[in-house]
Amino acid sequence: MNLPERKAPYVVPSCLIVIGAAFLIAGAPEVLAAVPQMPGGDVEYRAFPVVGSRVAVWVVAQLHLMFAAFVLAVPMFALTIEFIGYRSGDDRYDQLAYDFTKLLSVSFSFTATLGAMLTFLLFILYPRLMEYLVSIFDWTFVLYVSVFFLEAVFLYSYYYGWGKMPKGVHLLVGLGLNLVGIVILFIADAWLTFMNSPSGIDETGALVSTWDAINNFTWMPINIHRLIANICFGGSIAGAYGAYKFLGARTDEERAHYDWMGYIGNFIAIAALLPLPFAGYWLGREIYAFSQSLGIALMGGTFSWLFIIQAVLIGNLFLAANYYLWLSMERIHGAERYRKFIKYLLASVTVCFIVWATPHSLVATVEEARAMGGSHHPVLSVLGVMSAKNTAVNILILTTYLSFLFYRRANKEATVSWARTGKLVQFGILAIVVGIVVFLGVYGYFVEASVRIGLSIPQVGSVLFAMISITIIDIFMFKDAKVLGPIAWGKIPKRAQYTLFFIAITFAWTMGLMGYVRSGIRQHWHVYGVMADTSPDAFIPSLGYAANVVSVTVLIFFTFIAIVFWITSLSGRKEMEVGG
């Protein structure tokens, strides 16, 4: 491929924003310490015009989180891909990693700007809450600022230094960028998880131990969940960028490159999506461990219907991910052998999707309810409980994994002597694990709640075991395999690119929805059980209202992302024209 020479855009202003935001946060303790002595220092809340304080903070926080997720995730897979390119000597990987990294520069400016805006809004609109949080986490704000500054240094060194540093040094800079990114995430997570599951304080709410406040019940589960979710999200946005470039490509060469980029972005997103439910399960478990009331509010009370919306979103993600893989197989010679299985995979995904999205009780008229003998459908309500849903999710994950397995071996034929045995063992593992998952799902209906809750663990464990063991066998079985034909990159229908957009939009919407519930489960508390929310917004809005706020946020985000894509495209235009 004749790929454009690298050149970075002019991005100094974003550094200034980062530094400005850093100073703002660093100064927070001093500013807040001064508040009581100032006129209006006792103000608990201030109102934001038109939409109100909550919606203003909600939208800006969500936008900041989306950009932050992207900026955190992209360096992870950019570094990984760069490393693969370095080890294999294949320049295409290096170019791909650089293409991903190009998206970072402008995105980082957006992240910093939105972060500064969020900081302003919080300190202005919720001074009492912020004063309390600063009293708990004072020195962590300073640490955050320092690490934030370091990230700016690493990020711009990584970006501008591409091709200008020895590769080993450049990789180390990339590693540094990733490490500080993770530290930033973990610090910010401490603040927000403390609000949900406070610890390290006495009965009056006064600080006893900052470390205990950081290391609260939900801190590490959120850290891990967000880390994985950020990779999903970042991968999907990067995949959407590949799709955007593919649709605008003028040559077959460009189409091939961006088809590949879209595939890799999507692969990263889906690979990270598979373990995400397990991380979510851990998080849910810790929420229950901290407070059964909080857990019930999350899963069984006010927000129980939110998880039906989530099921629609995640079901769509799995459906789209599978669909994209099946479309991608069209460009692989040899994949015809697996086409006959697609209808079964589709049936499995559809059935699991339906089960997952089945509510425990139904929205019904009085006549319908009377005919059913209550609000629970005599048959379908059986599918609306966790035993059925956990089973459906695990089978859905296995089905998607199977689609990926077919894609992986589409143009390969195993040549090792034990290939037949290997396939039989793989099939055996899959069949046994499906049997275990279904058996435990059914068994859950016949045991007490305390036993039933624990059944999720062997279900999850067996699915993870299946995916890991089958992959290991596959890697060895298809080593030095006979290649039946090339992958015709670029030869893929346009609808596959729209599927990538669909995945990215759905990820963004899911992220918005789950951000809402994570914050919403505190109900009328700023800090659960410690600081009550006495503002006019101390109620939980309807899900329809929340859905509209999430939708508006997602639309703003994609408008910003379109600007990021456009500006990023400008950086290589001159070389494109010359090279073209």
């Binding site: 009331s293 069984g300 939110l306 209550g374 709640a449 305390s450 939009i505 899900l543 859905a547």
Partner: protein
């Protein structure tokens, strides 16, 4: 450029679809629970009524517990707890057992269930000692005989937590006057606490804004007299019965009042009636 327009249109369509899904589920707005006050001279019967109110409101008990008599739930069902309480732990009376369950819920956990209930006297629930007595009285009434008074002493009570319920009398059950209008009955039994007559938006219970065009008079009768026979989707089973019990509705309402109330509700057709 055309591609960008198409992609943006596609994005709007997908987002609109998800917004639509968000509108298709039950729409409930949840407000912080009101602090229920306990009068200093309340009788046991009045404590039962207020206790029912606390159980479904400030105490948030029904977020986890059911009162349907069914087994298999995640937390113990409270139907018949008044009869069972005195037999759960040897040497403990029903009042002591219920007191322990509320103050130190994880000291004894019913077999087959996991610990984790928050102490009712501590945040985020923060009931006062007197409110807890009212809850115990109500729980005793579920299959047993309420005996608790405001003078009942429990080892977990403290001076700091003795208030909280205020000293003013709790809202008394409405008088059983025969000449009340439908609106007056609606107000007297606090139906408006959970249902809206003026807006289609659901509150704690479904909106009654257009109930007359949705339900026949028979169905409205049934919904009032047996609220758990058909619970509208997304709403808590047992809540309406508990609320109406708390206001003394079932004890006091006369046949003619019920007819007046049903007629009043049947006229709510969502057209400004």
């Amino acid at each position: 450029m055309m591609n960008a327009v198409k992609i943006f249109a596609f994005t709007i369509l997908v987002v609109l679809f998800y917004s639509y899904v968000g509108q298709m589920v039950p729409q409930t707005v949840t407000y912080p629970p009101d602090d229920t006050e306990i009068g200093e001279d309340m009788t046991t019967e009045e404590l039962v009524e207020v206790g029912a109110e606390i159980v479904s409101g400030q105490g948030t008990c029904l977020s986890c517990h059911t009162m349907s008599g069914e087994t298999g739930g995640r937390f113990p069902d409270l139907a018949g707890i008044g009869a069972a309480a005195g037999q759960r732990v040897e040497g403990m009376s029903d009042v002591e057992y219920l007191g322990q369950s509320l103050y130190e819920p994880n000291e004894f956990v019913v077999e087959g269930f996991l610990p984790g209930m928050p102490p009712a006297a501590q945040p985020p629930i923060s009931l006062s000692d007197r409110q807890i007595l009212a809850v115990i009285a109500y729980l005793q009434s579920l299959g047993g005989e309420p005996t608790v008074t405001l003078g009942t002493e429990l080892p977990w009570q403290s001076e700091e937590n003795s208030g909280g319920g205020g000293s003013e009398a709790a809202p008394a059950a409405p008088a059983a006057a025969q000449d009340m209008s439908g609106q007056e009955l609606y107000d007297a039994y606090a139906c408006g606490t959970c249902h809206s007559l003026t807006e289609p938006t659901p509150m704690i219970g479904p909106s009654l804004y257009d109930v007359g065009s949705r339900l026949s008079r028979d169905a409205i009768y049934e919904a009032i007299l047996e609220p758990d026979a058909t619970v509208a989707e997304g709403f808590q089973q047992g809540l309406m019965a508990a609320q109406l019990n708390a206001t003394g509705f079932y004890d006091n309402v006369s046949t003619s009042q019920l007819r007046t109330l049903v007629e009043f509700l049947a006229q709510q057709t969502g057209e400004g009636s």
